[in-house]
Every structure is written in structure tokens, then in C-alpha cells.
């Protein structure tokens, strides 16, 4: 078996273990804490018939093993079960409805973060210690420290309420420009991190022998940067950006709440507030699987681009 195939199989096995681990954790979560979810969903005044009905819907009439079996069957059938709050909807259909909204937000945020971070990181690395470097590093520190749930409302207050330049929570998410403020809010933290990484990575590469060789053979500074330094320095940066795509699916929860955007986060919070456990389980599982799949793809792409990884 080639080293590449072995690497891919090992990573795939790791991803599978993670998904199974997450499924078990998600199932165990519901049983980890005492208390009757039926009480939480229906309140004290509910009729006995309604309570029995809900108990059946949540599989609470079954033994623990039976519940695990029902959960496995729900996952296996691809429906993830029926929602107990939005009756007549499968959990998967609820998720499928909003998944594209969260995915477009996460992809836009990562793209925006790269567009902001790469030029800033490169500029800062060209003259380490200069005022420009200080400015970039200072701004990026602020970007890391600013809480998303503060930045979002501030941007809204300014660009939506005061200036009226961009759409806000009252507009439908399909309207042009609706993605700008949420994507920027979600991207800031990542952009700040990536700008610092780009700078550090470029400064690291600058000390490598192949850069000295490139300079010694008479290439201009621009050629050295473009042909030799950037391809090597940016690989880890782009990898981190890819991995962050998975985290942003979860990180979007706060942003979606601020901008009242439909999405996985909004669905999760709604389901949590009515204790619709099957939807909660489903959303958590789908986010976790997306995260694992994104990481797997990034790992494989990285190994394909940089053969040094496979032997490690």
C-alpha cells in the first residue's frame, strides 16, 4: 500500500471514530442530567394524553437500549427522526432547509478573512518592527480580543440603523448584501488570527536555505516572495483557514442570533428553548459531522500538496 493511501485510510478511520464518538456523546447527553424533558416541553398543566404522546415521540416509553436503537435507526434512515415540536417534519428536512444559509455564511467569512489577512500579514512581514508592522499587529490583537456579540451590534447600529447602507435583521436573508455584515462579523476574529499567522510563517520561511539560494541566484525581492516564500508560507495559513470553516459552522450561532438570520444556530437555539431534543441531537450531529468531514478534506488536501506531511 502506498504511503499516501495509508495516510488517507488512517485519517478516514480517525474521522469515523470521531463521528461515532460524537454520536454516542450526543445520545448520552440527554441522559446525563436528571429531569423529565416532557415537563420542560409541556409544562405542568398538560393533559396526560399529551404527555404520553410526547413521551412516545421522544422514545421515552422505550428502555435505554430501545432508545439507543431508535436513535441509531433515525440516523441510519437519514431522517434523524421526527421533530416533536414541529410535528410532521423530519429533523433532516428542518436542517436541510437552513443548512445552506449557515454554509454560505461560513464560506463567505473564511473567504473574507483570507482576503483581509493575507495582504496585511505579507505587508507586516516585509518590514518587521516598522510602524506598519506595529499597526497591523496591533489591529489584529484588537480583532482577536473584540467579542463577536459586541462587534455585530456595533456594525448594525452604524451601517444599518444610522447610515442605512446595508440590510439588517428586518430584511430577508436573500436580499443583496444581506451577507455582508454577518460575514464581516464572523470573519474578524479569524482574519486577525490569520494575519498574525501569515506574518509569522513568512518570517520563518525567510530564514530557510532555499530562500537564500533564490536570492543568491539573483532573483528580485518580488520574485523571491512570489515564487518561493509565499507558496511555502501560505500553505499552513490556508490549512488553518480550512479547518476553521468547520468551527465557523458552530461559531455562526452567535452571529445568526445577532442578525436574526435563519441557520443551524438559530434552529438549535429554537429547539433548545422548547426542549425539542431530537432536533438538538440532529443539529449537533450534523455540525459535528460537517466539522469532521471538512477537517478530513483539509488534511488530505494538505498531504497532497505537501509530501513532507505523510511521513510524519
Amino acid at each position: 500500500m502506498s504511503a499516501g493511501l495509508a495516510f488517507a485510510l488512517r485519517r478516514l478511520l480517525g474521522a469515523l471514530t470521531a463521528v461515532i464518538g460524537v454520536s454516542l456523546a450526543v445520545f448520552a447527553l440527554r441522559h446525563a442530567v436528571p429531569g423529565d424533558p416532557v415537563d420542560a416541553m409541556l409544562g405542568e398543566q398538560a393533559t396526560e394524553a399529551d404527555r404520553d404522546d410526547l413521551r412516545r415521540c421522544l422514545d421515552l416509553d422505550k428502555s435505554l437500549l430501545g432508545q439507543a436503537g431508535a436513535f441509531a435507526a433515525d440516523v441510519g434512515s437519514g431522517t434523524l427522526g421526527m421533530s416533536c415540536h414541529y410535528r410532521r417534519s423530519t429533523v433532516m428536512s428542518l436542517i436541510a432547509e437552513v443548512y445552506p444559509r449557515t454554509a454560505e455564511l461560513a464560506v463567505a467569512a473564511v473567504a473574507l478573512a483570507l482576503v483581509i489577512a493575507l495582504p496585511l500579514g505579507i505587508i507586516a512581514s516585509l518590514r518587521p518592527g516598522s510602524w506598519l508592522d506595529g499597526l497591523v499587529m496591533g489591529t489584529s490583537l484588537a480583532g482577536i480580543a473584540v467579542p463577536t456579540m459586541w462587534l455585530g451590534p456595533l456594525l448594525l447600529a452604524f451601517f444599518y440603523v444610522r447610515l442605512g447602507w446595508l440590510p439588517g435583521p428586518a430584511d430577508p436573508p436573500s436580499v443583496a448584501g444581506a451577507l455582508v455584515l454577518p460575514a464581516f462579523t464572523l470573519a474578524t476574529h479569524l482574519a486577525a488570527m490569520l494575519a498574525r499567522m501569515t506574518r509569522a510563517s513568512l518570517l520563518d520561511v525567510a530564514n530557510e536555505d532555499f530562500i537564500r539560494t533564490a536570492r543568491a541566484k539573483g532573483l528580485s525581492a518580488v520574485q523571491v516572495l512570489r515564487r518561493h516564500a509565499l507558496p511555502n508560507a501560505l500553505l499552513p495559513v490556508v490549512t488553518v483557514a480550512g479547518i476553521q470553516l468547520g468551527s465557523l459552522l458552530a461559531g455562526a450561532i452567535v452571529t445568526e442570533k445577532i442578525f436574526a438570520r435563519p441557520g443551524l444556530g438559530t434552529l438549535l437555539l429554537e429547539a433548545l428553548s422548547v426542549r425539542d431534543w431530537k432536533v438538538v441531537q440532529g443539529v449537533v450531529l450534523v455540525i459535528a459531522v460537517s466539522y469532521v468531514v471538512v477537517n478530513l478534506l483539509v488534511d488530505l488536501a494538505y498531504a497532497a500538496l505537501d509530501p513532507r506531511i505523510r511521513v510524519r
Binding site: 460524537v22 456523546a25 480580543a145 467579542p147 456579540m149 458552530a250 433548545l272
Partner: protein
């Protein structure tokens, strides 16, 4: 190094964190209760008896932010403390013993890392109607220790073959003694760096949970102040600006101090090369 030689970033970071700790310890004693409502004085501007003004229920904003600081210190301090101890012991044990112990513990770490952390925190706090502060700390610590474990394991792997550890083993010292007296002390530098960044991280995650309405059941946690302030943004940006700035200052302080500590304590991760 004297204070005069410290980098400006270090001084600023340390000052921010020191101010935060002082406010958290002393602030609640010098302000009134954050829960006293005065409906005659709703959304009052700063001045007079209320230095930062009042909120939509006529509560003193300064008192709320100060009590929120104490809550943040308790939550983040406890979470980081628990994660530090658990992560160090797990990581050092795995790295020092190696073999199947290492394999098992690190598989657990991998599973926890293969999952967006905040999702797990969120799912756990949502299990109870109104989580107590202790429960929130539990939810944050459940996956918070893995970062420390990874750092500790990597370091322990490196020191277990050192002469002084071998000498201790040869002189008949037991596992616990070697681990606590010889291995762990040599790991502390990178772990303190990790804890400094981690403190800011916990502050942010806890504020996110509170912002989503899933944090401790008190109205003055910084995240819930921010959430309330956001809904009054159209009338006054002050209610959101103050707790937001408080969070940003603490997190910035942690990052500044963490950067300088890393340069001093953990030569592998220097940022100023």
C-alpha cells in the same frame, strides 16, 4: 527583568488584567446592589449617583459591570484552574508512561477535539433550565482541559529521557513522586502560557453562552448585559458598549500578556522572530 525593561505590550497587558482582578475583588464592595431597580430613573445618562448611568430597569450599570467582573473572575478562574490541573496530570501521565495509557488518553483528547468546543459547552448548559455558576464551570471544563493535556504530553515526552528523571527512577522514586516532583515542574512554563490565553478564551465562551441566554442565571453576567444592551441599541449604545469593552479589555490583556510570557517561558513559540 525590572519593570523598566519590560515591553510596553507586557505592561499594558498586565495592567489590564490587574485592573480586572482589582475591580472583581473590590468593585462589588464599593457599589450598590446590581439588582436594585429604580423605575423613576430608567436609561438615565451617566452622571451624579450613577457614573455609567442606568439600564432599562433603572439599575446602576457600574454596579452591574463590577458584579459581572467578579462573576467572570470566578467562572474563568475556576475553569482555568480545573483545566490546568486535570490537563497537566492527564498529559504528563500519558507522555511519561507512553504505551497503551498514552494511546487511550490521547484518543479521548482526539474525540473531544474533533468537535467544535462551544457546541459541546452549549449542549451541556442547555440540559438544565437555569444553570448555576458551578454547572457552567463544569460545562466549560469538560473539554477545556484537552489543550493543557496536549501541551503537557508533548513536554513530558521530551523530559522523560532526561538524566535527572532517569536518576530519580534509578534511585527508586515512585511514579507519583517522579511525576509531581520531576516531570510536572519542568512543564509549567508552556502551561502557564496556555493558561494565560485560556483565561481570555473562557471569558469569551462564557460571555457567548450568557449572550445566547444559556449562561448563569444572573442578570449581570457580562454576556447577558451585552444581550440586554443590544436590544436597546437603537436608544442608547452605552448599555452594550460598556460590557463589550470590559470583555475586550480582559481578552486583550490576556493576549498581550500571553504573547510576552510565551517569548520568555516557551522559546518554541516565539512570535517576534
Amino acid at each position: 527583568m525590572t519593570l523598566g525593561q519590560a515591553r510596553p505590550a507586557t505592561v499594558v497587558g498586565a495592567t489590564f488584567l490587574l485592573a480586572f482582578v482589582l475591580v472583581a475583588l473590590l468593585g462589588p464592595a464599593v457599589t450598590s446592589s446590581p439588582l436594585v431597580q429604580n423605575l423613576d430613573l430608567v436609561l438615565a445618562p451617566p452622571g451624579g449617583a450613577h457614573w455609567l448611568g442606568t439600564d432599562e430597569n433603572g439599575r446602576d450599570l457600574l454596579a452591574m459591570v463590577f458584579h459581572g467582573a467578579r462573576l467572570a473572575l470566578i467562572t474563568a478562574g475556576s475553569t482555568v484552574g480545573i483545566c490546568f490541573v486535570v490537563g497537566t496530570l492527564v498529559g504528563a501521565t500519558a507522555g511519561y508512561l507512553g504505551g497503551w495509557v498514552d494511546e487511550t488518553l490521547m484518543r479521548l483528547v482526539d474525540v473531544l477535539l474533533s468537535f467544535p468546543g462551544i457546541l459541546l459547552n452549549l449542549a451541556i448548559v442547555a440540559l438544565v433550565q437555569r444553570p448555576s455558576v458551578g454547572f457552567v464551570i463544569f460545562a466549560l471544563a469538560i473539554n477545556g482541559w484537552v489543550g493543557y493535556a496536549r501541551v503537557a504530553r508533548g513536554q513530558a515526552l521530551a523530559v522523560r529521557e532526561r538524566e535527572y528523571v532517569q536518576a530519580a527512577r534509578a534511585s527508586g522514586a515512585g511514579f507519583a513522586r517522579i511525576l509531581l516532583r520531576h516531570v510536572v515542574p519542568s512543564l509549567l512554563g508552556p502551561l502557564i502560557v496556555q493558561a494565560t490565553f485560556g483565561f481570555g478564551g473562557v471569558i469569551l465562551v462564557e460571555a457567548s453562552l450568557s449572550f445566547l441566554g444559556l449562561g448563569p442565571a444572573v442578570p449581570y453576567s457580562w454576556g447577558s448585559l451585552l444581550a440586554q444592551g443590544t436590544s436597546y441599541l437603537w436608544r442608547s449604545s452605552r448599555l452594550a458598549a460598556v460590557p463589550g469593552a470590559a470583555i475586550a479589555v480582559v481578552v486583550l490583556g490576556c493576549n498581550l500578556l500571553g504573547d510576552s510570557l510565551r517569548d520568555r517561558l516557551d522559546p518554541r513559540g516565539r512570535t517576534d522572530r
